[in-house]
Every structure is written in C-alpha cells, then in structure tokens.
C-alpha cells in the first residue's frame, strides 16, 4: 500500500520535475519563458497522436521532445531576435499551444492511448518496499532523475554551465567578454522546450494514456512556480516536484476515501499549495535576491 502510493506520487511528480528542470536552465540563462504550459500541451498532443498512429510510445516521446523544442523556437525568435516582451510572448505561446493542441487533438479525443510499459529489472524489482520504486518504474522516471543530476552537474561543474549562468546574471558583461549571449539563450530555450515537450508526452503516454483537451491542467504553471520555489537550484526542484506530487496524489486519495469535504476543495489544493509555498519562499527577500538570475526577463540588444 505504502509503496503503491509512493509510486503514484513519483508518477505525478515526474512531469513537473522534467518541465521545471528545463525551465530552470532557461531562467538561469536569463530568459523567463511563461510558455511552459503551451509547450507541454503541444508535447502531450504530439506524443499521443504519434504513438497512436505508429503504435510505438517511444516514437511518441521522441516526437513530443522535438515538437516541444521547435515550438519553443517561436518564443526564442520573438524574444531574442525581435526583442519582444518576454512575459507577453510567453503568455502568447501558452495561449497558442492550448489552441493549436485542441485543434490537432480533436480527432484523437476518446481514442485508447498507447501506454508506455515499465522497466523491470529482474530480481531487484521484487525487493520488499523499494523494489518497484527503484527498479520497476517507467523509463521516463529514470530519465527525469538522470536529468536532475545532469543539469546540476552541467550548471555547476562545467565551463559551459558557468558561461550559461554568467549570461543569465549579466548579459552585458558576458557580451563584452565575447560570449555569444543570444546563441546560448536560443539553446537554453530549446532545451527548455524539449523538456516541456517530454513532460507533456509523459502525461499522454504514462500518466493518463489518452488525449483530453487541456489535459496539462496548469502543470506547466506549477512547474514555473517550482523553479521560483527551488530558488533556481536543481536539487530543490526535485524536492519541490515530489512535494507537489504528494499533494496532488494525497487529494485524490482523500477524494476516494469519501471524506465530507467538497471534492472541488481537494482539487484546488495543489493550486492553493502553490500560492502558499510561493508566499513563504518569496517573503524571504535575501534568499530570492541572492539566487535570482540578475538579468532574468531583461531585454537584450547587443550593441555593435
């Protein structure tokens, strides 16, 4: 029972973790992309439809990643090349993604999806308590953990990561040092898009293997909140994602128990928890000031 609950928490946390990890890299490079929800839902509809048509969940996941990255390029072109307002453009990406995905997915509504199987390491997955949790989950769960480790290592132990952070902290100085600010930001945005696409693909291929319009249900926004909550640190994103996974699974179990609490109040819990957590984190001004990438959301036009 306990193990089953922890596994469902991992399933709820994985898409949040992946999308937030991508956005963390984007924000570390100094760009605020509010289009996570839109990229995620595009990933979900692509993942579902490609997997449905080819029968292969892996092709679906791959297509979701590619479409997420391509879709984010639209945001990149506007904010980096045309220097548009990042907040407004991110919102535009979300609105466009929600609209386009509804259109693309219309013919897939109600169709049975393709569910990605789980990895089962022989013998190890039968260990008591932790067997299935550590050795018997879906492949993307392992990818999400590897992604967390990879992003931490990249940002804090490689030269490229240092360069990316310097671009996010002071793009004018970075530019003066000859660093190609815009090229780096393009790559970061595409990475973020790929991650959001993968997270969306996960929703449509593992979490609930079917297509429902608007099925990301605010998860992209929660991922954005997680990055703030984590004060731009990968390890804390992991913790935050599992905390939110626990809240959303907890409320589902509470609904199933039939407590005399309105189900709508329980459904609202993840959103209310996001607000409360954001308040608790942001009231500590020093913590947020120290970690926020200093150029976050600032427009950059290189002087030549």
């Amino acid at each position: 029972m306990f193990e089953a609950i922890v596994i469902t928490i991992a399933t709820a946390a994985t898409p949040l973790l992946i999308a937030a990890m991508g956005e963390l890299v984007v924000e570390r490079s100094g760009v605020l992309n509010l289009g996570v929800e839109g990229m995620m839902i595009m990933g979900a509809v692509t993942g579902f439809s490609v997997a449905y048509m080819t029968g292969s969940p892996w092709l679906g996941v791959l297509a979701a990643i590619v479409v997420g990255a391509l879709f984010s390029l639209l945001f990149g072109f506007l904010t980096l090349t045309l220097v548009t307002n990042q907040v407004a453009t991110g919102l535009a990406l979300t609105l466009l993604g929600l609209g386009l995905s509804g259109m693309i997915g219309e013919s897939f509504v109600g169709l049975p999806g393709v569910k990605m199987g789980t990895v089962n390491v022989p013998y190890l997955s039968e260990l008591p308590y932790v067997g299935r949790l550590l050795f018997g989950q879906d492949p993307i769960f392992y990818i999400s953990i590897a992604l967390t480790i990879g992003v931490s290592w990249f940002l804090f132990y490689t030269k490229a990561g240092l360069t990316l952070r310097s671009v996010g902290d002071n793009h004018a100085s970075a530019h003066a040092l000859g660093i190609r600010v815009i090229a780096i930001r393009y790559m970061a945005i595409m990475f973020g898009g790929a991650c959001a696409g993968l997270a969306g693909g996960y929703l449509a291929l593992v979490y609930v293997p079917q297509w429902v319009e608007g099925m990301s249900a605010g998860r992209g926004w929660i991922a954005l909140a997680l990055v703030v909550f984590a004060s731009w640190r990968p390890g804390r994103v992991l913790a935050g994602a599992y905390l939110f996974g626990a809240v959303s699974i907890g409320q589902l179990h509470a609904q199933a128990l039939g407590w005399p609490i309105p189900s709508q109040l329980l459904s609202a819990l993840p959103y209310l928890a996001t607000i409360i957590v954001l308040v608790l984190i942001s009231r500590n001004k020093r913590l947020t000031m120290v970690n926020t990438p200093a150029s976050l959301g600032q427009p950059f036009v290189p002087d030549r």
Binding site: T84, L100, G102, M103, A225, Q264, S267, I275, R304
Partner: protein, 369 residues
C-alpha cells in the same frame, strides 16, 4: 544573412498606428494557410469567418455581447500592464465577480425590487476587485510573483463556482442539473434595443469604461503615474509615486472591471450560474489588450475584432464545417503577430549579410577600387 535591430531614436509614430493592422493582416494570411491546410477553401472560409457575421443585425448584437466582456476586462488589464503589473488571472476575477454579484438573485430570490440590479453590479465589481487584490497584496507585502498567484487563483475560482452550482446553490427545482435558479426579472440586465437583438447593457458599460479609462490614462496625473511607474520605477520613486500603492490600485481596477464583466455576462446573457460561464474571456482579453496597444480606445476596436473571431468561428463551423477549436489557435496567432509587429515601433529591422559573406564581398570589390 541575419537580422539586426537598430534602435530608433524615437518611437515610430507611423508603426505605432500601423502595427495592429499589419498584425491583423498577417493573421488573415496565416489563417488562409491554416484553412487551406485543413482542406477548406481559404477564400470562402475567410468570408464566412470575418464578413458574414457582420451582415445581419442580430449577428451584430451577438458581436456586442461577446465584445462587452472582452473590452471591459481588457481596459482594466491595460492599467495593470501599463504599470508593469502582470495580472493574468482575469478569468478568475470574472468568475468571482459573477458569483458575488449573483448572491442576491440566488440566495434571496424573493427580494425583488428595482435596485437589485444596481446592487448586483456593484457587488460583482467588489467581488472581482477583492479577488484580484489577493495577488496584488501578496506582491506588495511578500514580494510574491503576481503572474503565478493570479493564474493559480483562476483554477481555484472555477472550482469554487463548480462547487456552488453542484452543491449549495443548485436549483432546487432544476432536475439535478448543475445550475442555479434562473434570475428573476429584476435581476436581468436589460437589452439595449430589444426590437432588433439580444445585446445587453454590458456593451454600454464597456464603452463607458473605455472612455473613462482613456481619459484617466491620457489626461490625468494618475494616468501619468501609471505610465511612469511602468516604464521606469526608479523615476517614479523620485517623483514621489508609490509602486506598492500603484500595484494595489491596478489590481483593484482590473479586478473590478473583470467582475463587472462577469456579472454582466451572467445577468445579461445567461440568466443563471452554470459550471462554465466563460469561453476563456479572461485570457482572450489579454490578447485584446495588446492588440489595442494598451490604449482603451484601441481596445474597443480590438475587442470587436476578437469578438468576431468567436462569432466567425461559430459561423464557419455551421457553414463550412470548420472545427470550433480553430478559434483559440487563431486568437493565439493574433497575439504572436501583434508582439512581433510591435518591434517595428522601437527598432528598425535590417537584414545584414553574415560576416563571411560580407568579407568575401569586400574582397571581391578590392580590385575595382
């Protein structure tokens, strides 16, 4: 070849005026391509989408019904966006305005006097303003990101409405349908010209709100304060303006407008509360605000255009079998084109040959010198 931006010494007046039109033109072209890709004849589809709804009087009334909430919400949002406060939770404030405004006709159905309607409208505005003040206060007091909190509150508001209409406010005589009792006649916002169509007074409120806010923004000190704090918070501080008070003001105004839109929609167009009372007006209004270049009078025109996308979507669905899902994709495209075209106001765009190409060109030219 690559693209290079050169900052203009001044904003281009020509492009300030032209950019929304260029954006709309580009959207039409993109729309034609989209329709062709969906296997529809682009010309006829565009006709049914953008022209046919304007040919009948009753249809113009429908246009006004859809434009009213969009304009009301967007003029409120313009105050927020101009002062650099990112309220994107207007959809939630719309819902809460509708709920608070509906307290009288739903909970006290026997309370039937002429002043019920004005009270409902005021309560709707207060409800919306109070709900919008939550992210505003959190931003000022705790430095919390208003984008995320205002958006999260949309989901909370929708769930709250869902609970009300399925639970305590469900119509006792409604066969268990998730809806409240229908409003009595004193709680119904009247039609403007009942003889020709359904358009209700919400559209008049929208026009009045746009004119009032246009006056405030362009002719008063408050309007100057809003713009200064938005463009340069530091300069605003030197002028003695308080950014915190401005945040509270902007959220309260935009919330009140969204709340008024909510109660007008419910009282004028629907006549009762249901689980879903808005086809995303609060989000579409963000597009309206930007298409109107954050100018209340521009927003009136932009609101009519976006209302036409809703109406045209319905018309094209009936006439050429276009999916109604196209509407939101279309609206998203408009915002993209608007933002891209706004670049032309501040920058000149030059296409520069890449460095290698320039170098070889220079080398080729040397002998001629």
């Amino acid at each position: 070849m690559r693209l290079e931006l050169v900052k203009r010494p001044q904003q281009s007046r020509a492009f300030s005026a032209l950019s929304p039109f260029i954006a709309f033109g580009l959207t039409i072209i993109a729309g034609a391509i989209l329709f062709a890709a969906l296997g529809k004849n682009p010309a006829t589809t565009l006709y049914y989408y953008f022209v046919e709804p304007l040919m009948e009087v009753w249809s113009l009334h429908e246009l006004a019904i859809k434009a009213a909430p969009l304009i009301l919400i967007a003029v409120g949002l313009s105050v927020c966006f101009l002062s650099n406060n990112w309220n994107i939770g207007a959809e939630g404030q719309f819902v809460i305005g509708a709920v608070v405004g509906s307290v009288l006709p739903v909970m006290f159905p026997d309370f039937q006097f002429w002043f019920v309607l004005p009270l409902m409208l005021i309560m709707g505005m207060i409800g919306g303003a109070a709900y919008a003040s939550i992210p505003g206060i959190l931003k000022v007091r705790f430095n919390t990101n208003e984008i995320l909190t205002s958006l999260m509150l949309v989901y909370v508001a929708q769930l709250f409405l869902d609970w009300l209409v399925r639970g305590p406010w469900r119509n006792p005589a409604g066969m268990n349908f998730p809806e409240t009792r229908t409003f009595h006649s004193y709680a119904i916002l009247p039609e403007i010209l009942p003889a020709s169509g359904r358009a209700h007074w919400g559209f008049v409120f929208a026009i009045i709100a746009a004119i009032v806010l246009w006056f405030v923004l362009s002719k008063t000190l408050k309007g100057f304060e809003i713009k200064v704090l938005g463009q340069s918070p530091r300069a605003g501080r030197f002028a003695g303006f308080s950014a915190g008070k401005m945040t509270l003001f902007a959220f309260a105004v935009s919330g009140a407008m969204a709340g008024l839109a909510g109660i007008s929609e419910v009282s004028g167009a629907i006549g009762q509360l249901r689980p879903a009372i808005s086809p995303g007006y609060g989000f579409t209004a963000i597009i309206v605000a930007f298409l109107g270049r954050l100018n209340p009078l521009g927003i009136v025109a932009a609101g009519l255009v976006l209302a036409l996308t809703y109406l045209g979507g319905e018309a094209a669905q009936i006439s050429v079998g276009l999916s109604d899902k196209v509407v939101r994709a279309f609206q998203g495209m408009i915002l993209f084109f608007v933002l891209a075209c706004d670049t032309l106001i501040h920058y000149q765009i030059r296409f520069v040959k890449s460095k290698a190409a320039t170098a070889s060109l220079a080398a080729a030219q040397v002998p001629n010198v």
